[in-house]
């Protein structure tokens, strides 16, 4: 059942990708945000592309590659439409008041190099779909209210260099494979984690 719905979602996302511009995706994002300091005032949906909007950077083909909204007094939630920004490399939303779950559609951001969403009020689980972010080097989700376990799937992200999930409510064990071999323990502090996964044994996910 869930597989069917995932496939359906993928088809839907694909469909949306084809018919919506990145400007629409960003405008949908704006509509979910409360923006008391008018950081998003320049986001005019009537423009041909969003490349002259403030805090949005495009490459020479007018594809959005950066979204810089760190420390901008923004509250509200993230939506699935963010996943349409297929060329996005930097998603900088750190130090805001963003709540709700991390949309699994962020896993569609195939070009993403850096995702900084630390110091927000994000809850729910780290989406398993992040395992699709093959270019990801920096993933900082620390100081949120994330729960659940660290998806084992993240061990396949061979480019992942910097990872921080400290100060959340994560549980289970810490992966030890792939890039997780080199992350310092500080990246995992202040969670309900049971310590590193014991290799060769049945993984224990008690309390998770």
């Amino acid at each position: 059942m869930s597989r069917v719905s995932i496939i359906f979602c993928l088809i839907l996302v694909h469909f949306l990708n084809n018919c919506l511009f990145s400007g629409n995706a960003l405008h949908a994002l704006r509509s979910r945000f409360k923006d008391p300091t008018n950081v998003l005032q320049s986001w005019d949906p009537t423009l041909v592309n969003p490349c002259t909007w403030f805090h949005v950077t495009c490459d020479s083909n007018n594809h959005v590659i950066r979204l810089d909204l760190g420390n901008s007094n923004i509250s509200g939630t993230l939506g699935p439409e963010l996943g349409q920004l297929q060329h996005l490399q930097y998603l900088e939303l750190y130090m805001n008041d963003i709540s709700g779950k991390i949309p699994k559609e962020l896993g569609n951001l195939k070009s993403l190099v850096s995702m900084d969403m630390y110091q927000n009020k994000l809850e729910g689980e780290i989406p398993k779909s992040f395992a699709n972010l093959k270019s990801l080097k920096f993933l900082r989700l620390n100081n949120n209210k994330l729960t659940g376990s660290i998806p084992r799937e993240l061990t396949t992200l061979s480019d992942l260099k910097v990872f921080d999930v400290s100060n959340n409510g994560l549980c289970g064990t810490i992966p030890v494979d792939g890039p997780f071999r080199s992350f310092p323990m500080e990246s995992f502090e202040n969670n309900k984690l049971n310590g590193p996964e014991l290799q060769g044994l049945v993984p224990y996910d008690f309390g998770c």
Partner: protein
């Protein structure tokens, strides 16, 4: 005043009624029932807000007349025996509830119309007592709560209008008892749940309108029994499933509106049997079939809206039979094939929207017959060929959008006949030739979008006639010549985009364009004095004049455009200096003045631009000290001051710019050390300090820039060892340290090991296990021969007796710790100044190498001995080497 009187009289009448009722004869009963109605109405009136101001229902009052009757009151009608049978209080400003309305007091009431008031609260269940009610209209009020199931007791009811309220909950199935009901309007509420299948039993139903609720589930097949149904409005809900085949029985149906739901499946062929249909509104669902050609049988159809579905296949030719069609909306589907010429038969058509499909081949000439057409949208298809000149016959046209196709050829001159045209969008095609002079005849035109084509020649002066125009976009063409001076007359323009053309010469005087919000003239060959053509534009938010030949100075007038957010005049020939008044434009977010001839110092007033997120002053002739006030621009994300002649030290205050992701100070004349405070730039992705005269060592704090991916420190005077902490900068992808005076081991990290030789060369004495460099173990330094001999002798010796030395060292260090520290601290190394490495005695460098080599060897040897002793030893040694970051912290941990 009224209230106490009323209460007293009520009491008296009630008593009178109670005592006398058993003995009264018939005429008196009539009299007293009428009295009951009077008092029921007055009681309700007193419960309403503002009833005592005298303005509400002034005729509803007890006067001194002997016979008490409400029949002459406003909105009240009585039957032949003087009983109330109709209450009609439409739009009289009633505010209150029905709580005090005594339904049981009106046994003869057949008609109750309270629409368009502000009555709130629930409908009391007692409403079910008005057994003779035929007409109930409570629409456009503020009723809430659920629709009481007792409504089902109103067995005579023919018309029930509860629309435009805030009713919630489900539609009560008891509504199925209303067997005489002809019209059921529940639209614009917050009703949820399914449509009860009992509705299908209402065989007299003529109008069923459940629009704009939150109804879920599928359309009940039982609706197919409603053979008298003319109007079925179920749009704007969340209905799912497919259209049941039973709907095909509704032969009387004239309007079928199912749009804005979640319906799927096919558009059923049987709809072609509903020959009375005049409206078929199915837009914004998930229908995924082709359009059945049977739709062409619906000869009465005037509105056909199938847009925003997933319809495929081609547009059926039979649609050409629908000669009464006024609106044909098939936009946002996956329709393919060509536009049938038969559409040209639809002479009544006023709206034709086929946009956002996969339609191909050319636009049929026959469409020129649609002389009633007001809106014609074909954008976002794959239409090719030229625009038929017959479009010029569509005299009623106000909106024409053919953008985002593959249309070629030239723009027909006949478009100049469309004098009612308000919007003309032909952008993103491959149109050739010049913009027809006749476009200047379109006096009603508001918006003209011809961008992203291959239009050439000069812009016609006639465009200056279009004085209503608010948007003129001709970007990305091959337009040449001079921008006509007449464009300066278009005083209503808010957007003017002429970028990416080959326009030359001077620009018109734009001082009168005071409504201008966005102006783009970038990437042309425009030549004029920038300080003369512009005035003060109070609404201007965005101006891009980049990549032209503008000259002159930056006028301080720009600072008086109070809404200017983006100011880009890069790649021009601007001269002069940055006016200090620039600091007054505190709303500026982006400044790009790169590649001009701006001279002088950066004024300290720049620190007042507190909203600035991007500052690019690259490739100018700016000189002098960088004002430390730059550090106030804490919103800055991007700072490029490269290729100027900026000198002195890099201000420490740049470390305040914590949002920076790009910092380029390269190719300047900065001296002294890299400020340690730059370590605060934790979001910096790219740092370029190359081609300066920066000296001393690379501060190890640079490793705290934990987002850094690209670091260029090449072509400076940096000396000493490369901090070992680079090995922990996992994200660092690219580094260039070439042409400095660095020596010692190259850190063991991918950024260094993947670096090209060019990125490391030009340093004296770097070593490491990298191709082209000496291994540090063999470490043949590039020192003169006499020193080489020393190394050759000492290193193998040290290697062989490492363990011995380490034990001795341990002992020695513990005893002579103080001495050692004092000696090291007073060594000449501490007193070196800028560029001093050039005169620095090689011997000390050499000793340093030896000392560090010893530590390395001892640490390797001791690693397997007592951990605690080892840690202490390393700590002491490290301290004695004054934060040389030589030993891997991970080892200590």
């Amino acid at each position: 005043m009224v209230l106490p009187n009323l209460k007293i009289s009520l009491v008296i009448f009630s008593l009178f009624f109670l005592i006398l009722f058993p003995v009264l004869d018939f005429p008196l009963i009539v009299y007293s029932d009428s009295t009951e109605e009077v008092h029921a109405l007055l009681k309700w009136k007193t419960s309403l807000q503002n009833h005592d101001k005298g303005s509400l229902l002034p005729s509803w009052t007890l006067n001194n007349a002997t016979k008490i009757s409400p029949c002459a009151w406003f909105g009240i009608h009585c039957n032949h025996v003087g009983r109330v049978n109709s209450i009609n209080l439409t739009n009289v400003g009633l505010k209150g509830t029905l709580h005090d309305f005594s339904f049981s007091s009106f046994p003869h009431l057949a008609y109750l119309d309270l629409q368009v008031n502000q009555i709130f609260g629930i409908i009391p269940p007692q409403i079910g007592n008005i057994s003779k009610l035929k007409y109930l209209d409570l629409s456009s009020n503020s009723f809430s709560g659920t629709i009481p199931p007792q409504i089902g007791n109103l067995s005579m009811l023919k018309f029930l209008y509860l629309s435009a309220n805030q009713f919630s909950g489900r539609i009560p199935p008891q509504i199925g008892h209303l067997s005489y009901i002809e019209a059921l309007h529940l639209f614009k509420n917050q009703l949820s749940g399914p449509i009860p299948h009992e509705v299908g039993g209402l065989s007299s139903l003529n109008e069923l309108a459940l629009t704009s609720n939150f109804l879920k589930g599928s359309i009940p097949p039982s609706l197919g029994n409603l053979t008298n149904l003319a109007i079925l409005y179920l749009h704007n809900n969340s209905l799912s499933g497919s259209i049941p085949s039973e709907i095909g029985n509704l032969k009387s149906l004239s309007s079928l509106a199912l749009g804005n739901n979640k319906l799927c499946g096919s558009i059923p062929l049987f709809l072609g049997n509903l020959t009375n249909l005049d409206t078929l509104y199915l837009r914004n669902n998930s229908f995924s079939s082709s359009i059945p050609s049977e739709i062409g049988n619906l000869k009465s159809l005037s509105i056909l809206e199938l847009g925003e579905n997933r319809l495929n296949g081609s547009i059926p030719l039979s649609l050409g039979n629908l000669t009464n069609l006024d609106t044909l909306y098939l936009y946002t589907n996956s329709l393919s094939g060509s536009i049938p010429s038969e559409i040209g038969n639809l002479k009544s058509l006023s709206g034709l929207e086929l946009a956002d499909n996969e339609l191909s081949s050319s636009i049929p000439h026959y469409l020129g017959n649609l002389t009633n057409l007001a809106a014609f949208y074909l954008y976002k298809n794959s239409l090719s060929g030229s625009i038929p000149s017959e479009i010029g016959n569509l005299k009623s046209l106000s909106n024409l959008d053919l953008s985002e196709n593959k249309l070629s050829g030239s723009i027909p001159h006949s478009l100049g006949n469309l004098t009612n045209l308000a919007i003309l969008y032909l952008h993103s095609n491959t149109l050739l030739g010049s913009i027809p002079r006749e476009i200047g005849n379109l006096k009603s035109l508001f918006e003209l979008q011809l961008g992203d084509n291959k239009l050439s020649n000069s812009i016609s002066h006639s465009l200056g006639n279009l004085t209503h125009m608010t948007l003129l976009a001709l970007y990305d063409n091959a337009l040449s010549g001079v921008i006509p001076e007449e464009l300066g007359n278009l005083v209503k323009l808010t957007m003017l985009t002429l970028s990416d053309n080959q326009l030359q010469g001077s620009i018109p005087n734009l001082r009168n364009l005071t409504n201008l919000i966005r102006l783009r003239l970038n990437r042309n060959h425009l030549t004029c004095n920038i300080s003369e053509s512009f005035g003060i534009h109070p609404k201007l938010t965005f101006i891009d004049l980049s990549h032209n030949n503008f000259y002159g100075q930056i006028s301080s007038d720009w600072g008086k455009c109070p809404n200017l957010g983006t100011f880009d005049v890069s790649v021009n020939n601007i001269i002069g200096s940055l006016p200090p008044e620039i600091g007054d434009s505190s709303q500026l977010h982006v400044i790009d003045l790169s590649a001009n001839h701006i001279i002088g110092k950066i004024p300290s007033e720049i620190g007042k631009l507190s909203s600035l997120i991007k500052l690019i002053l690259r490739r100018n002739q700016l000189f002098g000290q960088l004002p430390s006030e730059l550090g106030s621009l804490i919103q800055l994300e991007y700072l490029d001051l490269s290729s100027n002649r900026l000198s002195n030290s890099i201000p420490r205050s740049l470390g305040n710019l914590v949002k920076l992701h790009y910092l380029n100070l390269s190719t300047n004349q900065f001296i002294q050390e890299i400020p340690i405070k730059l370590e605060k730039l934790i979001h910096l992705s790219e740092l370029d300090l190359s081609h300066n005269f920066l000296g001393k060592e690379i501060p190890s704090q640079i490793c705290n820039m934990r987002s850094l991916e690209m670091l260029n420190l090449s072509h400076n005077n940096l000396s000493d060892f490369i901090p070992r902490c680079f090995e922990e900068m996992n994200g660092l992808l690219y580094i260039d340290i070439s042409y400095n005076e660095l020596h010692g081991p190259i850190p063991n990290s991918t950024a260094f090991s993947d670096a090209l030789m060019e990125a490391l060369q030009g340093n004296e004495g770097l070593c490491g296990d990298i191709k082209g460099f000496q291994s540090c173990k063999a470490s043949k330094s590039h020192k003169p021969a006499s020193r080489k001999i020393w190394v050759v002798i000492v290193f193998p010796l040290l290697g062989t007796v490492a363990l011995l030395i380490s034990l001795i060292a341990l002992f020695f260090i513990f005893r002579r710790r103080k001495n050692a520290l004092q000696t090291l601290q007073s060594s000449p190394r501490g007193t070196r100044g800028f560029l001093s490495v050039l005169t620095f005695e090689g011997k000390i460098v050499y000793e340093e190498i030896i000392r560090q080599r010893m530590v390395l060897m001892m640490s390797t040897a001791l690693e397997k001995v007592d951990k605690e002793v080892y840690t202490k030893l390393i700590y002491l040694l490290e301290k004695s080497l004054q934060s040389r970051n030589f030993i891997r912290h991970s080892q200590v941990r």
